[in-house]
């Protein structure tokens, strides 16, 4: 499975249920080890240089990854400390995702969409260079989708790359540069331009440093 993403490029990842999209994202995020093949993020191998990769990657998964018993603000403050970023931006991030009215409320009572928004706020704090979004529009209302798209465009403008898992292209219109489809464990290329196919060893590909390369 070969896929190369350039800096500043937003790639949509399609594929039918159970084809391995989430698994793929988790491998790139260093949360799973691929049994074969290599994957490089800005020149670092996800298998062996996990820590370097984690400096670049922001992952928005199926699950919110929040602490139910901390408030929205405390959750972000914890994330900021762990990421090594100043806590100053927290209120701005909360405002941006429209959660100021529940800043000090515990996440336990949040609805599915509110939790997704808070996860988004964490990504906003982090401003990763490679964004991995797994069905990011689930549970988000129209305003939420607009927020998400705004954030993606912003990162894009700053030269970040993104891979977005999607089933429905409509909400992502205007932010996705191109789409690829996973089929039977391979990338099927709708637009063949950007991809180097490596017939001999389809599981391994090395990419130039400076780009987010995923093979």
């Amino acid at each position: 499975m070969n896929l190369q993403v350039r800096a500043g490029e937003m790639v949509g990842l399609l594929g039918h249920n159970g084809c391995g999209k989430s698994t793929f994202m988790r491998i790139v995020a260093t949360l799973l080890k691929a049994s074969a093949g290599d994957c490089f993020v800005y020149g670092s191998n996800v298998k062996t240089e996990g820590d370097a990769v984690r400096h670049h990657v922001g992952f928005f998964s199926h699950v919110p990854g929040l602490y139910d018993d901390l408030s929205a603000r405390e959750n972000l403050a914890f994330a900021a400390t762990m990421l090594g970023f100043p806590e100053a931006d927290i209120d701005a991030a909360l405002e941006r995702v429209g959660l100021t009215h529940v800043t000090n409320e515990r996440v336990r009572g949040f609805s599915a969409g509110m939790q997704r928004r808070l996860s988004l706020a964490r990504l906003i704090l982090q401003r990763p260079r490679l964004l991995l979004l797994d069905e990011p529009y689930n549970n988000l209302d129209v305003a939420g989708i607009a927020l998400m798209n705004g954030f993606i465009r912003e990162l894009n403008a700053a030269g970040g790359a993104a891979v977005v898992v999607l089933h429905d292209l409509v909400p992502a219109q205007g932010v996705i540069d191109r789409t690829v489809t996973i089929k039977e464990g391979r990338v099927v290329v709708p637009t063949a331009d950007d991809l180097r196919h490596d017939g001999a060893s389809p599981q391994a590909i090395t990419l130039p440093a400076g780009a987010a390369g995923i093979s």
């Binding site: 039918h16 159970g18 084809c19 049994s35 074969a36 464990g185 389809p202 599981q203």
Partner: protein, 237 residues
């Protein structure tokens, strides 16, 4: 369909079965030989003959858990799935022999000590060792992801193997009812010959069991790999 990920997981060629029968025959022979040649003990009478199963069983237990230790360290170091499977096989066989040691020891203890069990250091530490590896096997069965399973059980196996020297030394460190290690030279030759032969037979048996389990485990893993690949391959598998 993606190609089979790790070619090392072509299932191994099966070892011929007659090797197993040979091992088993040797074991029967050494048992009969030892029982026939050794005279009745002054204190224990013919009960002494329990030694030919109890003591070798205990020793191969240690050896098997030693294999677990080495294979686990190797797995963490080299990340070679085969080492993990070897550790698992050795742990299974070791637990079996550990259980055998316990049962045979209890059967022996009843007529000689008058009790099935006593809370002395050798007996209890052996029981604890057994329980630790029961936990090890339970851990393996509760974890689905093979890589994760390998790393976790390696950690548990290494920590568990710490207890082998404790069992070994328990008779020295604490005063126990149980026999302390005897010097081979202190044992009269008619007992020693039978014992050593049986230790050899038990060792062969252990190697055979571990090897068979290992082969089976590799077949299971190869199947797991295949089904994983099929799952990632999607509907048409």
């Amino acid at each position: 369909m993606s190609p089979a990920p790790a070619s090392s997981f072509a299932p191994p060629k099966p070892t011929p079965v007659w090797l197993g029968w040979l091992t088993f025959a040797f074991f029967i022979f050494t048992q009969i030989y030892a029982v026939v040649t050794s005279p009745a003990d002054a204190m224990m009478g013919h009960l002494q003959k329990m030694m030919y199963v109890h003591v070798p069983a205990a020793w191969v237990t240690f050896a098997a858990f030693g294999v677990v230790l080495v294979a686990s360290l190797f797995f963490l170091w080299k990340d070679d799935e085969r080492a993990d499977l070897l550790a698992a096989s050795a742990a299974e066989v070791g637990s079996m022999f550990c259980g055998l040691t316990l049962v045979l020891g209890m059967l022996w203890g009843r007529p000689t000590w008058g009790v099935w069990w006593s809370w002395d250091a050798r007996l209890t530490s052996t029981l604890v060792l057994f329980l630790i590896f029961v936990g090890y096997l339970a851990l393996r069965s509760f974890v689905e992801d093979p890589h994760r399973r390998g790393q976790w059980s390696a950690a548990v196996g290494i920590l568990g193997a710490i207890n082998v020297p404790i069992v070994w030394m328990s008779v020295k460190w604490w005063r126990t009812l149980h026999q302390i290690q005897s010097n081979p030279r202190g044992l009269s030759p008619e007992y020693l010959r039978g014992l050593l032969l049986n230790v050899a037979a038990f060792t062969l048996l252990t190697v055979w069991f571990i090897w068979k389990r290992y082969e089976a485990a590799r077949l299971e893993r190869a199947a797991e790999h295949a089904s994983q690949a099929a799952a990632l391959g999607g509907y048409n598998g």
